[in-house]
Symmetry: C2
Subunit: 339 residues, 2 copies
Amino acid sequence: MSKPTLKSVAKALGVSTATISNAFNRPDQLSLALREKILSACAELGYDGPNKAAQSLRKGSSGIVAVILSDSLEYMVSDPVASQFLQGVARELERQSKHLLLYSGSADNLDSITDFVDGFICYGAPRNLKLIEQLKRCPKRVLTVDFDLPGRPSVNIDNEQAAYDSAMAVLKPGDRVAVLGLRLIDAADSRTVGTAPLWDNQSSVSHRRLDGYQRAMQQLGLTLSNELLWHLPESNQACAETAAKAVLSQSPAPTVLLCMSDLIALSAMRVALGLGLRIPEQLRVVGFDGIEETLRYHPTLSSVWQFSDQKGEAAARAFQSGQDDNQLLPYELRLGESS
Amino acid sequence: MSKPTLKSVAKALGVSTATISNAFNRPDQLSLALREKILSACAELGYDGPNKAAQSLRKGSSGIVAVILSDSLEYMVSDPVASQFLQGVARELERQSKHLLLYSGSADNLDSITDFVDGFICYGAPRNLKLIEQLKRCPKRVLTVDFDLPGRPSVNIDNEQAAYDSAMAVLKPGDRVAVLGLRLIDAADSRTVGTAPLWDNQSSVSHRRLDGYQRAMQQLGLTLSNELLWHLPESNQACAETAAKAVLSQSPAPTVLLCMSDLIALSAMRVALGLGLRIPEQLRVVGFDGIEETLRYHPTLSSVWQFSDQKGEAAARAFQSGQDDNQLLPYELRLGESS
DNA sequence: TCATATATCTTAATGCATTAAGTTGCCAGT
DNA sequence: ACTGGCAACTTAATGCATTAAGATATATGA
C-alpha cells in the first residue's frame, strides 16, 4: 500500500478531505470529537500530516528561508563574523520553526529556488551582478543585510557613524593615516589603490565606512593620500598581510591604521610587530566588527563591535515580521591596547 | 496581470499545456521551430519556467538536499572538520545544481521537510534519538556520514584501522596510555570515566577508534585503565582542557595521549606544555582528523588525516549516485613532532 | 410555532505542472 | 492505392492539498 494521502485518509474515515485538512489546520472548523478521532486514525494509518510540497504549492509558502551568502560558503564558514551571523539566523529561524536553505552567492539562477522559499535573506552585497538584478525583481520577500536594495527592507548598523566614531577615538592631529578597506572593487582587480574604480553599489558598507573615516579626518584636518588607501579584494590573511606590508613600508610610515575588519587589523598588527613597530606608541590600529580572537591577541584591538549573531537574529525576525523599514542595529566602540 | 503559468502561456500561444511543459523538459517531443517560438514567447511574457513547487509535487523531487548536522550549527561552523565537510558537500551539490538545506540535528520534526527534499545527508550520529528513529523510517533517500544506519548507504573511513595505525605509530612497550575520546555517552553525563555507560550506537566513530586503540595496545601488551579513558561530552577547548588536566596530573603520569580529534589534541598539548611537560620526550601525543591549525602549532601534531572536504564531496556524490554501499574513504597517517 | 442563527460538515474550484495514452497528418515501402 | 510507422500535438488523469461557498441539522429567540 502506498503512502496515505489526505484523500485516502478521508475515504477510510468516510469524511470529506476538507474535514481532514481542517483537522490539521483549523481545529475550530470541526467538532472536538471528530478531530480526535481523525487524528488518532491518522496516527494509525501512518499519515503524518498534509504533504508539505502540496501545501507549499497551495498556500504559496513553505517555511523555508534562503540565506544568500555574498561570498562562497568557504568564506562564510571561515570568517567569524559571517558564521556568527549565520548562527544567529539559524537560531531565530529554528525558533520560528522555519528552515534554512543555504544559497551560494556565486550562483545566479534564483529561479531554481524562488518557488520553494518564502524569500531571501541576503547577507552582504553579492559580487555577482546578475544575482543582484534577479533579487531586484524577485516576487518573494527579500531582506538585505549589510547593504541596500531599493525598496527592500534591510538590517544594518550605521557604518558611517561607527567608522567615524572609531576614527575619532584613535586619530590625533598630525597623524599620517592609512586605510585598509574591504573590497569596494570588482574582484578582477587584485589590490587596487585609490578610490577610482569603485564598485557600483554606493551603499556598500565599505563606502559608508570610508565616508566615516574621512569625515573624522576632515574634522581633524587630516587627508588621506592614495598610496595609503588600500582595498583588499578578499578579506583573508594573505591579502591583508600584503597590503599591510606595502602600507607600513612607506616612508614616512603611517601612524594610524584604520582597518575595515578585525581580521585585517589582526594581520596588520602581526606584520607591524614583525617589522619592529611598537603598538600603540609608533602605530595605532583600529578594527571593525568585533571578534573574540582580538581579545586573546596582544595587544588587544580597539574596534567597533557589531554583534553579528544578534544581527542574524534580527534579520530573521525582520524577515518574518513583514516590516519594510531599514533597521539600524546598535554597535559599540570598544577600546583596547592598540590605540 | 498575475504571474504567468504554464496554462496561461499555453492559452496565449494557442497550444496545449503539455507542449509548453515539453518545451522545457523534453525538447525531443516537439519541433525545434515551435520550441523556439515558445521559449521566446515565455521570455516575452515573463514566464521563467515551470513552477518548482508544482514540479516538486508532481515529480516527487525538488533538487534540495538536506544536510543534518549532528550538533548545533554553532558547533558545525566553529569546528574546522565539520565546516570543511560542509564546504565539500556544498561544492559538489552546486556542481549538480542542487540546493543545500541545513537542518539542525537538535530538531526532531523531520516531517516538516521530508516532503520538500530529495533526501538527507546526515553528518555524524544525531544525539537526538528521536531523530534517528525518524531517519530509520524516512521514505526518502538517507545517506549517513561517520556513522551507520541499518540498510542505509554511508560514507566513512575505517576508523578502527586508522586509530590502530595511529596508536601503533606512537606507542612503545611499557607506555602508560591515556585516551581522550569524543562523546560516546549521553550528553547528560558530563565527563564520565570508563566505557560502561556507552551510547546506544555501537558503530559510532568513537567506538571504532577506541577499538583500534585497544587492538594496538593489546598487541603491545598495554592496558587502558579506567582513570585514563575520558569521554568528552563536547569537542571544545574547555572540555578538552579539563580532561587533559585531570589525566596529566595523575601519577604516574601517562606517557602517551591518544586523542580522538586534533582539536582535543591541541588543547591537551597546550595543557601539557603549561604543566612543564616536554613533548615528545615526556609525553607523546597523537590526534585524529587532520586540520591545518596543527601544522602551524609547535610541536606539530601526529595525526590521522581524513580530508573532510573530500568526504563532503564524496557524500554528495554518493547521495546522488543512488548506490547503496558503505563507502570507505582513504585516510593518511602523518607524523609530526608530537610523537 | 416560525424564522433565524450556529455548528458541523461537504462540494467543488483551485494552485501549477507532468505524463501516459490518444489523435492527426504525412511519408516511405510495396 | 493501401498500410505501417513516425513526428508532432492534444486530451485527460494525476500529484496532494486548501478554502470559499453551499448544505444540513440543531438550537435559540420571540
